[in-house]
């Protein structure tokens, strides 16, 4: 066991999978010598060579489209969008082909591939580097969308994503890249896709969160438990799509109160789906309206104001309080 940051844990997963299966290849802008702008692919080119760790031209559509071709022809490509803000350049390849190639060929040519992308605000990055658009990908049938909330899960989810028979959008909350370390076992560990988890148990309020919002949500839950004796149950989605809603809809049956925390903009954002699922499964148990604790409906401001944009512990706590009001 070693203490790893999320970046190291992801690197660990990539290295082990590349060792285990020589059909695994990594491609993207600057994933080679430089090891990716966040160093997630650090050292891989030395170990596995330029043919399996491929620095591509600056061209997102062909990075994704070529990955699909590779997947069809026996490889397991893991491509990187340098930032999620540039994944829109490849949106047509993702929507028109990647998500539905299995379907377009009646199962003949599945697309086992992973599109990795750092996303989210909070690291003083430039414009277009901080969005959180998990909804775009989650709304497209045929894709799986995975968002880890810590190093250990990042590793074990990436392993599953690489082995998955379907295309996976793997969104990495870059705020967590180096925020904390966790023990990550050397031995294989694969967290199944399509299963959310209860990150903290509680009986008074159900809160759904994921990615960079998860740790701060758990922190607030701990604080509020200590200070006020209110026990918040926190559900960490992990796989955003297909959504495993049972853990949180059932939790609501117990708590009667719910909130969702996300850093995406509010309107037409991911919170709506969470609310709707609870509405559909557990309406009769609800004792108060569900709260959405989110970023506002504005472009992510330049970094001097990004902390104000992101839901912080204060806003999360306020949201909890509103959700608890009966």
């Amino acid at each position: 066991m070693a203490e790893m940051t999320m970046v190291e844990a992801l690197n660990h997963a990539l290295r082990q999978e590349m060792e285990r299966d020589e059909s695994v290849v990594v491609l993207g802008e600057d994933v080679g010598e430089v090891g990716g702008v966040f160093r997630v692919t650090d050292g891989l080119v030395d170990e596995f060579g330029e043919d399996r760790v491929v620095d591509t031209p600056v061209a997102e559509a062909v990075i994704v489209g070529a990955s699909l071709g590779m997947a069809v022809n026996g490889l397991r490509p893991i491509c990187e969008m340098q930032f999620s803000g540039f994944s829109y350049h490849a949106m047509h390849q993702i929507e028109n082909h990647v998500a539905r190639f299995r379907w377009r060929t009646r199962g003949r040519f599945p697309a086992p591939m992973v599109i990795r992308m750092p996303y989210g605000a909070g690291v003083r990055a430039l414009e277009h580097h901080s969005e959180s658009r998990e909804v775009f990908f989650s709304h497209i049938p045929g894709l799986k969308v995975v968002i880890p909330s810590g190093p250990r899960l990042a590793r074990s989810l990436l392993v599953s994503a690489i082995r998955d028979p379907d295309p996976v959008i793997f969104m990495e909350p870059k705020l967590l890249y180096r925020q904390f370390r966790e023990e990550v076992p050397e031995d294989e560990e694969a967290h199944p896709l399509g299963e959310s988890r209860v990150a903290r148990e509680g009986s008074d309020l159900t809160v759904v969160a994921w990615g960079a919002m998860l740790p701060r949500t758990v922190e607030v839950a701990e604080e509020i438990a200590e200070e006020e004796g209110i026990e918040v149950e926190v559900v960490d989605l992990l796989t955003v799509s297909p959504l495993d809603s049972k853990p949180f809809t059932e939790s609501v049956r117990k708590t009667g109160h719910a909130a969702v925390v996300h850093e995406a903009q509010r309107s037409w954002g991911p919170g709506g789906e969470i609310v709707a699922r609870i509405m559909e499964d557990s309406f009769w148990y609800l004792e108060a309206p569900i709260q959405r604790i989110t970023a506002p409906d504005v472009p992510v401001p330049f970094f001097a104001r990004e902390e104000a944009y992101l839901p912080d512990k204060d806003r999360i706590r306020k949201g909890f309080r509103a959700a608890l009001e009966a």
Binding site: G65, V72, N73, N96, T105, P141
Partner: protein, 364 residues
């Protein structure tokens, strides 16, 4: 400190072998097997005939919109026949002739055109991609196939087809550049049929030829008379050979013509002159090739006519067969097949709405 003209490598060529009269440049004539030449001719006839049937079925409401191939048979079969079965075929949406050359089943294609997903089922051993509707979007895919070929040290080739309009899309650019950078075994076959729906070739780009676009990627370009099946074949043979040898991609521009509508939803009388169509009919690739085969003594007139009849007969039963197949197809819940390897729980619940009488809003 000069000011000077720069030379551009790689080469850019023009090729034509068999002219409109069926006259031949013997020095350039390829040495092809007689049987194969007959096969090529027969497939051209099949494509032309199938096109006609599809048009009839479309006009009769039996199938939906489709993109006829008539006029482009030489461009497609000349190119496709240069590939082996194990090579990859990555079509756009108008490759009826290439599809038939690959051994594609007209019944499947009819199902597809009648709106049934089952029509895109691809035989286990075929390396054929499905029709690609988004213009140029298949080029990156072909490039990826080729990358995998190269990585594994195999000598397969990926051959991909697209139109003149497709050269304007970003995907064209990114794919050719990627293929050039990694020297991948792809053959890019541009079917320059002069029109992208209503937009003529000259208004699609200010580039004089499409072949020269290869220069932007260090890729050899060759423009061929696309209605001359021998020229197309020779250019494609060279491109395939180059790719197989590990010497990278080629851009082949076939100068041809779309004799019919863009798709059956289109009305070309709004934007092009009948005269232009008439002029191109004179360059029809099929009679031209027939004259060649006759002159070479490979087919005599009787055999050629007979072939036309036999093709007609062969395809005569396609609609009935397709109709029978349609009878056997599943209900609406087929739409849930192949979305994922395993149906996730929420989709399993949604599928039940369609298969059973259950209430719809089962929290899917």
């Amino acid at each position: 400190m000069p000011r000077e003209e720069m030379e551009v490598a790689p080469p850019l060529e023009y090729l034509s072998i068999l002219d409109e009269e069926g006259d031949l440049d013997q020095e350039l004539e390829p040495d092809l097997d007689e049987e194969e030449l007959v096969q090529m001719y027969r497939t051209m006839l099949r494509a032309r005939r199938f096109d006609k049937l599809l048009l009839e079925w479309q006009r009769g409401g039996r199938i939906g919109t489709f993109a006829p191939v008539s006029g482009q048979e030489a461009s497609q079969i000349g190119a496709m026949s240069a590939a082996r079965d194990e090579d990859w075929f990555v079509p756009s949406f108008r490759e009826i002739a290439a599809f038939l050359w690959r051994g594609g089943d007209p019944v499947d294609m009819t199902l597809y055109n009648a709106g049934w997903n089952e029509g895109v089922a691809i035989p286990e051993d075929a390396r054929d991609f499905p029709i690609s509707i988004p213009v140029a979007s298949q080029l990156p895919l072909a490039t990826g196939l080729a990358y995998a070929i190269r990585l594994r040290g195999e000598d397969d080739v990926a051959m991909t087809f697209f139109g003149d309009g497709a050269t304007s899309e970003g995907d064209f650019h990114e794919a050719l550049n990627f293929a050039g950078t990694f020297q991948l075994p792809v053959v890019f076959v541009c079917q320059n049929n002069q029109w992208a729906i209503s937009v003529p070739r000259e208004r699609q780009t200010a580039s004089e030829t499409l072949a020269q676009k290869g220069l932007a990627y260090g890729i050899p370009g060759i423009q061929v008379d696309g209605n001359d099946i021998l020229a197309v074949r020779v250019a494609a043979d060279e491109a395939v050979k180059r790719a197989r040898a590990g010497d990278g991609p080629t851009l082949v521009e076939c100068v041809t013509y779309r004799l019919k509508v863009h798709t059956t939803a289109d009305d070309p009388s709004r934007y092009r002159d009948e005269e232009e169509v008439e002029r191109w009919k004179e360059r029809d690739p099929i009679p031209r090739f027939r004259r060649y085969l006759e002159k070479k003594g490979i087919l005599d007139e009787g055999e050629a006519d007979e072939m036309t009849d036999s093709v007609e007969e062969e395809l005569g039963g396609v609609w009935e067969e397709a109709e029978e197949r349609i009878e056997t197809l599943g209900g609406p819940d087929v739409m849930f097949q192949h979305v994922y390897a395993d149906l996730p729980p929420h989709l399993e619940r949604q599928r039940k709405w369609f298969g059973t009488d259950e209430e719809e809003n089962d929290n899917g």
